[in-house]
């Protein structure tokens, strides 16, 4: 079973890809764990969402979740 990770805007460009699929393991308990597992230390002003709702680095993640990382939003 997996967690889907999506990237948007400058973050997607900097990472060179739109998404990752990560095997859900007991070590990946939070959004922050997921980022560190994939990319190391999180950058300043990193925003995240779990299942299309805003999340923080300490928000729990679970098997099957849709997680997204993105820079500060600039709509409107």
């Amino acid at each position: 079973m997996t967690i889907t990770v999506q990237y948007f805007a400058r973050l997607r460009e900097d990472l060179g890809r739109e998404r990752d699929e990560v095997a859900a393991t007991g070590e990946l308990q939070t959004v922050g764990d997921l980022w560190r597992h994939l990319h190391g230390d999180p950058p300043a002003r990193l925003m995240a969402a779990v299942n299309q709702a805003h999340a923080r680095l300490d928000t729990p993640v679970a098997d099957g979740d849709e997680v997204a990382f993105f820079p500060p939003v600039t709509g409107g």
Binding site: A9, A49, A68, G75, G76
Partner: protein, 145 residues
């Protein structure tokens, strides 16, 4: 509540008027509207065009949440929110927030609050193409209050 995304130019005043045809205006004495347009300059640079990236699914959910929370805070209001996505040219409308209420303070405050929350919470990202052909991401929105 009505939340709409457009991938093509839309007329904000036609949208407002269309919505008003379904509203009891004799009970809604106040209507506060904000329309945001794409400018051809930003931070002293000339902008030729813009691309509005968004997070499909989350965008609609966020806009609906923002409006629902405003309706909970100002129970008398009725709202209409529209936003462009994709390629946008200067002077085209990027965002429309319209709020109707019996009283002007609720309409005005809710309209400002929805716009500010949209700008800081809804997952849109602006990428600008300058007149010299280079492109850049807008780093962050300016504070509105």
């Amino acid at each position: 509540m009505a939340v709409r995304l457009f991938d093509h130019p839309f007329d904000p005043w036609a949208l407002v008027r269309e919505r008003e045809r379904q509203l009891p205006l004799e009970r809604l004495g106040a209507c506060s509207v904000f329309a945001g347009r794409m400018r051809d300059f930003n931070e002293a640079e000339d902008i030729r065009a813009m691309f509005l990236e968004h997070y499909p699914g989350m965008t609609e959910r966020e806009l609906e949440r923002i409006v629902a929370e405003a309706e909970a805070r100002w129970p008398s209001i009725t709202c209409e929110v529209a936003h462009r996505v994709g390629a946008v040219d200067p002077s085209e409308t990027l965002v429309l927030v319209a709020v109707w209420s019996a009283h002007r303070v609720a309409a005005r405050d809710a309209c400002a609050e929805i716009l500010e929350r949209l700008k800081h919470e809804a997952p849109f990202w602006k990428r600008e193409r300058l007149t010299d052909g280079t492109e850049r991401w807008v780093e962050q929105n300016t504070p509105g209050h």
